[in-house]
């Protein structure tokens, strides 16, 4: 069980004065074993925030902590923090079999073959396909492999960044069901990012709404949807 906490995180791209403030003083907590949905339009800073947590982007100020420990002090492999990316077509190395891709993230000393089989089974893929190259898989299947790879690192917190937005509707449902099922079974804490409010609503316990680099509203999912307090949230809800 782990709690992911952003405390007054800001991310600045470019020069301090002329650059672009992508994330502006964001504080957000993903409670242990819960799913926090983060909605907002493109350019609102959702993905930047996610990249900061996993160390792909450096925060200009503020801290990100996992159970009270600053993530920058933890080695990547020991962080227990994994991310699933948006584009199923670029998130797997085309030259590596899916089994190798999954095994790469495993801690040392694991029985890789057995673990790969277990994970593939977990995401409802045939373990015999471990030797297949990603080109042989459909978008939905690739996204399952990406999930399996994230789980291979035995994470306690998973960040899902627009994982269904590149998928067709008929495939999206299966991936969402899987995400929800895994989250509950493994007790993962999850930051689920999407521009689609209906999708976020379906998987999340809490919802945070981001706009222009700031979180404008955050609360229990039902409450945010039933009694939105910020104008922008209302506008989003009206669009449905």
């Amino acid at each position: 069980m782990s709690e992911l906490r952003f405390e007054s995180v800001s991310v600045h791209y470019g020069h301090r004065r002329t650059g672009h403030l992508a994330v502006d003083d964001v504080s957000l907590t993903v409670p242990s074993g819960k799913v926090v949905g983060l909605v907002g339009e493109s350019g609102s800073g959702k993905s930047t925030l996610a990249s900061t947590a996993v160390g792909l982007v450096d925060a200009t100020s503020g801290t990100i902590s996992l159970d009270g420990v600053d993530v920058r002090r933890l080695r990547r492999r020991d962080r227990g923090l994994q991310m699933v990316f948006q584009d199923p077509y670029s998130s797997l190395d085309p030259r590596m079999s899916i089994g190798e891709s999954i095994a790469e993230a495993m801690p040392r000393g694991t029985d890789r073959r057995a673990e790969v089989a277990r994970l593939l089974e977990l995401v409802h893929l045939d373990p015999d396909r471990a030797t297949a190259l990603p080109a042989r898989l459909s978008g939905g299947q690739r996204q399952r492999v990406a999930l399996a790879r994230a789980l291979a690192g035995r994470p306690e917190v998973v960040i899902a960044d627009e994982i269904t937005s590149a998928l067709d509707v008929s495939v999206q449902g299966a991936v969402l069901n899987l995400v929800r099922d895994l989250q509950r079974r493994l007790g993962l804490s999850m930051l689920f990012i999407s521009h689609d409010l209906a999708v976020v609503r379906y998987v999340s316990d809490r919802i945070a709404v981001m706009r222009g680099g700031r979180i404008v509203e955050e609360g229990e999912a039902d409450q945010v949807l039933a009694r939105p307090r910020h104008d922008y949230t209302r506008e989003l809800l009206e669009a449905y």
Binding site: P94, V169, S170, L197
Partner: protein, 625 residues
Amino acid sequence: MRRWLAVARTPVGAASAVLLLLLAGLALFAPLLWGEQAGAIDTDALQQGSSAAHPLGTDALGRDILHRVLVATRLTIGLALLATVVGVGTGVVLGALPAVLPRWAGRVVTAAVNIAVAFPGLLLALFFAVVFGTGTTGAVLAIAFALAPSFARLTQTLTASVSGRSYIAAARVSGVGRFRVLVRHVLPNVAEPLVINATLAAGSALTAFAGLSFLGIGVQAPSYDWGRLLGEGLNRIYVSPAPALGPAVAVVVAGLAFNLFGEAAAAVLGHRPPPVRRGRPAPAPSTVDDVADEGVLTVRNLRVSFPGPDGWVTPVRGVSFAVREAEVVGVVGESGSGKSLTALAVSRLVEHPGVVTADRLEFLGKPVEGTPDRELGTSLAMVFQDPMTSFNPTRRIGSQLAEVSEQHQGMSRKDAWQRAADRLESVRVPGQRAKQYPHEFSGGMRQRAMIAMGLMGDPRLVIADEPTTALDVTVQREVLRLLGRIRDERSTAVLLISHDISVVQRTCDRVLVMYAGRIVEELPTAELFTAARHPYTTALLAAVPTLETDRDQPLAVIPGRPPEPAEVVAGCPFAPRCPLADDRCRAEEPVLTAVEAGHRVSCWRVEEQQRSALAESAGSRGGTT
């Protein structure tokens, strides 16, 4: 490996591969076979020209030049390859270093490479030749280091493009070290272009080496390569040309072999389109029994085919529909369903080698095929998905709009500009913004400007292909409303293509649902949620999460995946995923049939139900009377 064999199957690839094999054979065996003759001194035949005994003549010591050219293959090719390997190796290491080094050190390496790239290769080679001293080692190093900078640059560029992919990010997040990421993920994915370029580089290394030897700073006596033989022969070229021409031809042929093979490999592995097959796709019988009635746009049995590796592939297979005046018709379907190709075919934008056929494809009562561009340009407007790329970034929005009227309606520049400002106003973009460039517009505003561009003429039909997909939900609404308003004010017909049922539902009067290149259902939007009959339509509707979806239940899913255009087989294409499918569905493709006025479905099971329902009602009516 199989792809490299494909290279050898192209004419140029095959010819150059044969030449390369020949050269390799010579390099291996010539010294063994003719080594003795090449070194045999014959004082009776000094400096002879071409003769039967010595086709290329003899040198100053009476040695046979033909044999010497053949034997020199090994040294020439060997040294060229050695120089290439050293050069490419150095280049790749230099190019990959910035990815592993700390940032400041990486910058230093990059800057050094950038400076080195600025010098011409041969100049660098000469410079290094002087530094390393004359002789074989010096020449190899000189040519290698002259090659290195361009390879370093190439590696850097390729590495940078691969580094942006999310599998690299995923590996880094998993805690894979920089060096391992480089070796396991980056280098394998940039290897192919590097190998191709190395083949090309081998060709130029060969000629450069010949050049250095010719100048006397390469291979030194008593060793000899083609360059030295050329140098010796050239002294008396006016007396007897053969001794110089022999090695010259060898250099040219070998250089060409390497270069052509590299070019052929680049063509095949770089996914340039394969040569188009001759002939046309087989015409298909019309599978539509009802008549799509007249309208602004009438489409009957439309098919779009592309040549594939195993014959023609037909992603749009017999689509029939009509769009009437002042009507908004939506086309929904998943990726690969053929919806966008249908739109492109209607507006005559399917590019070669695609082939469009139709029993009828008529716009305003005239075949689209024969309509002049000018007429189509003003009466049919097209709005594309990506507002970022549909405007030219270097020209003002206003002048891009005005161009339409200048070109198609022969307006003066001033009038056209006036009209552009007016049309922008009509899509709620302030007229003075016509002076601005596309990057000064937001995404939604750009999409509205795109629609304004369509309104420059007096369009009877607007085809919008995923016009809101790249936009945020809050902006989506205004674009959709705008399309609705245009219809209301100008009675323009709209064909709206989208993967998003909710977009179509909000905007359209009628919906066409496409699956695997076919229309599977056509119905009024108002009935979409109440009376949809096709199993695919109902499954699709159920699969979309809404704000009312029960969060305690799993989402409805459609098992399996849609067939690729090349995989379409007999029977209903949805049958493998359909819970209702029976033997007939798997054997025979259903036909789009009217079940009610304005409602057509292509499904055997629906047809059966319909028939039994009719029989029942007829029966019950019969019972009461």
